[in-house]
Symmetry: C2
Subunit: 534 residues, 2 copies
């Protein structure tokens, strides 16, 4: 991660407030602006042509912008900027800002506002921006005067990478965007360098004592513990102490394949998750205390008793370095027991026939080029893919951290902008793809070679599962109307073409293998494969 | 409007909480549920098969649901119900709830929540629902216990049609949806009848005195004043007293054509709006004090000085009856001056040639069947249509009241559900159509014979205008990237086909006339016409 400079460069010309904000952002390392502007952001749009160095990328819907900023920030560790129109444009981006909040992704969330004098008239587009923004922001401020423009921008960027990493929302009234500012006075603000992640050595000693005590232990990895280095240290420790090792269920970013140890995700449903942790102390390395995704009658929300939790490192700590330190502390035992077996890198055998979720997972795993990035949203093929992908070449997986759906395609978009030298895949269920379907257009516009794999089963599978868990029939007329998507079936080829993205449809394993080969050869822009499952 | 019954019918069976809520809603006149449910709404989904009488309609995105509920409520005057998944599903619906708030549309906004005991664990999908819902709600409550289920539902419905009409948000924890409830105890709640709109006779006398004083007057009509009856009374008064008469710029619902007087909308941009009202007292009939849409430097936000405002009736009053009473009070003068000329009902002549916004407005005006409903979003063809449509057969126009875009297609959807015997048109700009493009699928699913006319000019025209107003170039590279939609051009035929909606493309006046004739003959479901403009 690049450390922002301590002093923003000053130029001596008079300029407007939007240029000040943009220069501070640029000089702090912001290079991309995912934008869906309106009237109150026009001076800022103009500034993008006056201040060089920030690339504007248009989304047709704000959820595309905020999700893309999330994907970008997960890959670079530094914030992208959004540009949203008032409280309601922001509102369209809330769902993916929530996911970014759960992922602790740094994002500079810039919202234009009415001119300050206009707010009291409660014009049609006026709304309570603060009430709408606070729930997803670790930091919120509306710029009050032109003297605050540079300082507030610097504070916002520092907040994105501060002790509570995440979304910093900066509201910029349009009169302060267009106001003339003497740059020499306003830009000389110190930008705080982000706090470097660290860990607490005392926790390492406590964790070592726990493991040496002979207690049965489960290591639960999250955050930075899911770097390759973190996973390797965790697997060595687990092998030596007969501990089990899990990833949090929905990590913001995890490395996988390429000989990394095969670390399972903690199961989604509470019953198997409780079974996985039963009778063990849970050592938290970058993960929060595990709780069920939803609350179910008669099942504890806590997947481990609080008295069984031991924290090695928190979600904002350098949990991977804490694991390495723990391995070093336990070196006497690790040396004796040797290295854990790395997962083999090898293609899966896949039989010819109709597509199944397992076959999809294996075929995608087989096809991944070195250092691919895979954005996964939706359970039908998502779980089978992660199960399979330990045998793939090295890749990075990005998952839906906050559960607000419509996140997979925008995150793939942002990751592709962040990493132009890596191939990006989106493994996406059909239902959830619809929430931010406009992502396809921006992918085509920016010529991003993203391969989208749409699991087309024409239903909300998870809801049918949950109906059954509630003892309700899945085929009653009205519940069917709310869980089946087959009337009409979405024509993904046409839809994709509508946004300028070439597409093909497959329903067999051989067909998917061939389509993936063609997709890999297609480097000039995105493509989409509709995978028809029964 | 149907008045809800004072006592909800009781049935003696044991039932769950979701059934209780659904029965109270149904027995209060709610017949439609625009839903995008998730796991925490499954008992409610199940209840839709156990309690007859509420039609579930699925949206692939929540903004479709909330906008459809707005369109439904504008046409019926009674609330539809939404069913949204937690705070983040609701967040996707905020933009159109904001528009409904500005339209004062009654909506029962139902949000499922985690089981109460689960909230404290801050699971991935937990968010501050109240902070996200308050800005768009006239009423907010989260049901606390099973004893409150019926009462809270009745209170919410009463609030939608109470003195501050609008969106009532009721949060329903999933454990209270599935809990067993003794129906005989819980359902016997009195449902408050909505307060009947009224007006203040003293204001009528003040308005009469103003007009008789000889002051120059502008009548500004909003809310119920835009019924046919209200407009006719206003036009008679205006003709007798040489007053000018305007509709508010973005009315929730206005009647037009069929011989109604041709009442212009107050202009959108401040300069012509100020000129229209200059030197006149402004008599407010159901309209708020007029303010500019956005604030501009050097231009007053108030389009009339507060000392020049006289209120005849407020936005929630029966402003049309107030206008009729005013006309009666002034009968001596009206009789002397006679009736105002009604607008002629006659087709516009349209020359063969390339499509222009004026030609689109006139051709649509010519094509409207008696009692059509037209949802208008986007300025390019929207203004020319309203200018033209005084000569159409009687129709109802619904506009974007709150400025959060993505409202036109869902409102058309909801209006079509509310009024199956009337033809519904959506006159929609291409940029704004994208925000809730998933509306097409629900229209196809429900076989709603909506005719969508997409103004395809492949740009955000309003933003180019506003760039120019800011003295900025419209063709600089980065502003072009944020205002032009031509790379790639959206293929509307393919997109529409993707959602199961037949479509055709026209670029001439004769082509559009023919396409409209075919669309009118197409009664089995929606269709779309892409109108290519230069």
């Amino acid at each position: 991660m690049e450390i922002p400079k301590l002093e923003v460069e000053v130029d001596s010309e008079m300029q407007n407030g939007a240029c000040v904000v943009l220069k501070v952002a640029r000089d702090s390392g912001v290079t991309v602006c995912f934008a869906n502007p309106g009237t109150t952001e026009m001076p800022f749009v103009g500034a993008l042509d006056q201040v060089a160095g920030v690339r504007p990328i248009l989304g047709l819907f704000e959820g595309v912008c905020t999700g893309a900023a999330d994907g970008y920030g997960r890959m670079t560790g530094t914030p992208a900027m959004t540009l949203l129109h008032l409280g309601l444009g922001h509102a369209n981006g809330i769902a993916n800002l929530h996911n970014a909040r759960r992922a602790r992704t740094p994002i500079l969330n810039l919202i234009g506002d009415h001119t300050r004098a206009h707010l009291k008239y409660d014009a049609p587009l006026t709304s309570d921006i603060e009430s709408l923004a606070r729930p997803v922001s670790v930091w919120y401020r509306s710029v009050a005067t032109e003297q605050d423009l540079a300082r507030d921008t610097a504070d916002a960027i520092a907040a994105t990478m501060g002790s509570a990493r995440g979304v910093a929302t900066l509201v910029l009234p349009v009169d302060l965007q267009s106001i003339a500012v003497d740059s020499s006075a306003s830009l000389a603000v110190p930008v705080q360098p982000p706090s470097a992640p660290a860990f607490d050595a005392a926790h390492v000693d406590e964790a070592a004592a726990l493991l040496r005590s002979g207690e049965r232990v489960a290591l639960l990895l999250g955050g930075r513990a899911l770097s390759g280095r973190g996973q390797q240290a965790a697997a060595r420790i687990a092998a030596a102490f007969d501990a089990v090792c899990f990833s949090e269920t929905f990590p913001a970013r995890t490395e996988r394949g390429g000989g990394l140890p095969d670390i399972d995700r903690l199961p989604y449903f509470p019953e198997p998750a409780l079974a996985a942790l039963a009778g063990r102390k849970v050592l938290l390395a970058g993960a929060l205390a595990p709780v069920t995704y939803f609350g179910y009658e008669g099942i504890s929300s806590e997947l481990a008793d609080p008295s069984d939790l031991v924290t090695l490192a928190g979600p904002n700590d350098s949990a991977d370095e804490a694991l390495v330190a723990l391995a070093n502390t336990l070196a006497d035992r690790l040396a004796a027991d040797g290295e854990p077996a790395a997962a083999e890198v090898a293609p899966w055998p896949v039989e010819s026939g109709a597509l199944t979720p397992q076959a999809v997972g294996r075929l995608l795993s087989n096809a991944l080029p070195e250092h691919a990035i895979v954005s996964v949203e939706g359970g039908t093929c998502g779980y089978p893919f992660v199960t399979a992908s330990s045998r793939a070449r090295h890749h990075t997986i990005l998952t839906n951290t906050g559960g607000a759906i419509g996140q997979g395609l925008p995150v793939a978009l942002g990751a592709a902008v962040a990493c132009p030298d890596r191939r990006v895949f989106a493994l996406q269920s059909d239902g959830s793809a619809q929430y931010t379907i406009q992502s396809l257009w921006t992918m085509a516009r920016e010529r991003l070679p993203i391969v989208m794999l749409i699991t087309s089963n024409r239903r909300y599978g998870i809801l049918q599962t949950e109906l059954s868990r509630n003892g309700l029939p899945v085929d009653a007329p009205n519940s069917s109307k709310l869980t089946l998507l087959d009337d009409p079936a979405i024509d993904w080829l046409a839809l994709s073409q509508g946004y300028g993205v070439p597409a093909e449809r497959v329903d067999t394993t051989d067909g998917l293998a061939d389509a993936l080969a063609r997709a890999l050869a297609h480097t000039g822009g995105p493509c989409l494969i509709e995978m028809c499952l029964p």
